[in-house]
């Protein structure tokens, strides 16, 4: 186990992490940590989670080598970890099932969650339905509009979706609202935080629930190619899918760990979510980590074509991996991500989530840098069904009113011609 090797202080990764929340929440965080630490050494909990992963989520998720896509990656071998094939369509279910089981153990009856792209909200609504918990999901108004399909999915699953009109109307404001709900209802409610940030123990706990991704993938790659990959690549919003696949490789010093942030319209444009390019250490949502902020310490709004990466902060363990030099982080622009989205769809018949397309665009760059002898493992964290509308608009496949543009329409363009 490498779990504690990089956690020198209580609830900290290097200097990052901590617990910057109202005092009212401290007892709930203490209870959560106690229940969680007991559960993960309790065969009954471990067995139940494993059973759900196998019979409900569909674990282990497979790996898929993608040679036609890899032709655009300098000829390197590219292997996808198929978290998109999980029930609910992304890696998010790994964490949610763990936390939902903990909710029952704590005797709580209600879960709340924040969501950006909607994937974590859908996963939470799903687990709540499965385990008979009341569920409220907070989602920025802007995200409810660009991810309307996922809003409907959550409602179909019996969850209440609350559109948040504060601030930038995106993920960070949904998190604020979830914290406000939690402070008021903490007796009955568990906040199923969806990523590896927030107050301790969330970053460590959420990572550990996702660690199965890297544990499986490492063995699968060894079985397939007979050696470890040269690099493991993942997109980084809050950073849960990345921590999930990175963590098992941290002690494999030959394996580069590379995270890809949303470069939006370009880091120099200011319209991006590249926290490690333009942020500085500070506190947001309970953790000391990299934050996009102005000179007065006010959070700066992030921008990305991907709702799931549109977040001005990032998990504290990523901040530590950056500062310790163990991982590297690069921005990928909207245009690059959408190009990779299109390319994987057309070369391999796999529609990736736009979030995951950032990691695919990263593979195109890293593959060209490392050349044909390299083996790249890419976390395909989610599927693109939820993004069809956004992508269809991006590529000009539908009109503003949502009706299809057919090839003989004046001005219609195929996916490859326009980016």
């Amino acid at each position: 186990m490498t779990t504690t090797s990089n956690v020198p202080a209580y609830g900290r990764f290097g200097g990052f992490g901590g617990r910057y929340v109202p005092e009212a929440l401290i007892p709930a965080l203490e209870q959560l940590e106690e229940v969680w630490r007991k559960a993960v050494v309790d065969p009954e909990f471990v067995g139940e989670l494993e059973r759900l992963q196998r019979t409900y989520t569909g674990r282990p998720s497979i790996i898929t080598e993608v040679p036609r896509f890899a032709e655009h990656c300098g000829g390197a071998r590219v292997i996808l970890k198929r978290e998109d094939l999980n029930h609910t369509g992304s890696h998010k279910i790994n964490n949610v099932l763990g936390q939902a089981l903990l909710t029952k153990r704590m005797g709580k009856t209600r879960v709340i969650a924040e969501t950006g792209a909607g994937q974590h909200g859908v996963a939470t609504a799903t687990a709540a339905a499965l385990l008979g918990l009341e569920c409220v999901v907070y989602m920025g108004r802007k995200d409810t509009e660009r991810q309307a399909l996922n809003v409907a999915r959550m409602r179909l699953l019996g969850a209440e979706v609350v559109a948040v009109d504060n601030g930038s109307k995106t993920l960070k404001d949904a998190v604020n609202e979830a914290f406000r709900d939690w402070v008021a209802n903490v007796d009955t409610t568990h906040y199923v935080l969806g990523t590896v940030t927030g107050p301790h123990p969330f970053p460590e706990m959420v990572r550990d629930f996702h660690r199965v991704i890297g544990v499986e993938a490492r063995q699968q790659v060894l079985d397939l190619v007979g050696r470890l990959p040269d690099a493991v690549l993942a997109c980084v919003g809050g950073g849960s899918n990345a921590m999930g696949i990175f963590h098992r490789f941290i002690d494999d010093r030959s394996v580069r760990l590379i995270g890809f942030e949303a470069g939006g319209e370009g880091v120099e444009s200011g319209k991006h979510a590249a926290r490690f390019s333009a942020g500085i250490p500070g506190v947001l949502h309970g953790a000391f980590t990299y934050v996009m902020q102005d000179e007065d310490g006010q959070t700066v709004e992030s921008h990305s074509v991907s709702a799931g990466l549109d977040y001005p902060s990032v998990g504290p363990e990523h901040a530590h991996l950056l500062e310790s030099g163990r991982a590297e982080y690069r921005p990928i622009s909207d245009v690059e991500a959408m190009e990779a989205f299109s390319l994987l769809s057309r070369t391999e018949g796999i529609l990736p989530a736009i979030e995951s397309a950032h990691a695919l665009a990263g593979a195109m760059k890293v593959g060209r840098e490392l050349g044909p002898d390299a083996v790249l493992l890419v976390n395909l964290s989610g599927r693109g069904d939820k993004d069809v509308h956004t992508a269809a608009e991006w590529f000009g496949l539908i009109d503003d009113d949502g009706s299809p543009r057919l090839p003989d329409d004046d001005g219609a363009k195929g996916m490859g011609e326009q980016q």
Partner: protein, 266 residues
Amino acid sequence: MSVATVIEKCRADNRAALIGYLPVGFPSVEGSIAAMKVLVESGVDIVEIGVPYSDPVMDGPVIQDAAVRALAAGVHLTDIFTAAREVSAAGAGALVMTYWNPVLRYGVERFAADLAAAGGAGLITPDLIPDEAGDWIAAADAHDLDKVFLVAPSSTPERLEAVTSQCRGFVYATAVMGVTGARASVGVAADALVSRTREHTDLPVCVGLGVSTGDQAAQVGRYADGVIVGSALVRCLTEADSDEQGLEALGSLARELAEGVRRGRS
């Protein structure tokens, strides 16, 4: 000067202190300072000078709204030093209430030095618990500033001990589990929390969250050393048709609250 001195004076008069919150920068920096002076003239003993912040997780809609508008109007962190100077000169205690990141960004030691130089009494830190506050505690002690941390109805005896042992000035007891905002009643939890807190400290214990009327101030003032009012005062300004009308409504409510704490124990 510690606000504990102000609260002691009120205690000598057999009443609770009245503590009023307003964010700096709404409707403008000057306008907010004028409003703080109205509070002092109307009987408020300690002004809580709020730092508008982009992500105020402890605040309800009224204070969020004021913060958004203050930030849009161009308020800067350094404006609180001006406000602290003016409030202090007007004869009231000047405590700053801020989320942690603005202080962190400014530099904790530098912030403490500048706040002390401006006559500020110290800080209330809603999202900073003593466990994470090593730098602030050191800077506050070096500059003779108050450190007001929060306790809540959910606080265990261990937490009450840990928090109160690091406070200076007073202990901020949140009356309910929830965010700032006026409530029809200030729950029974507040009274119990004050009693439980007193088992761990001799510091004054002041109650906030939900107090909006003179009657509530009187009721809370019977058991608490101070009554903290925020959203109800802020609303006087955010819902006013003009700045003048806002100040008038503010003065009127502050006088009602001041009268409330004065009759509470009589």
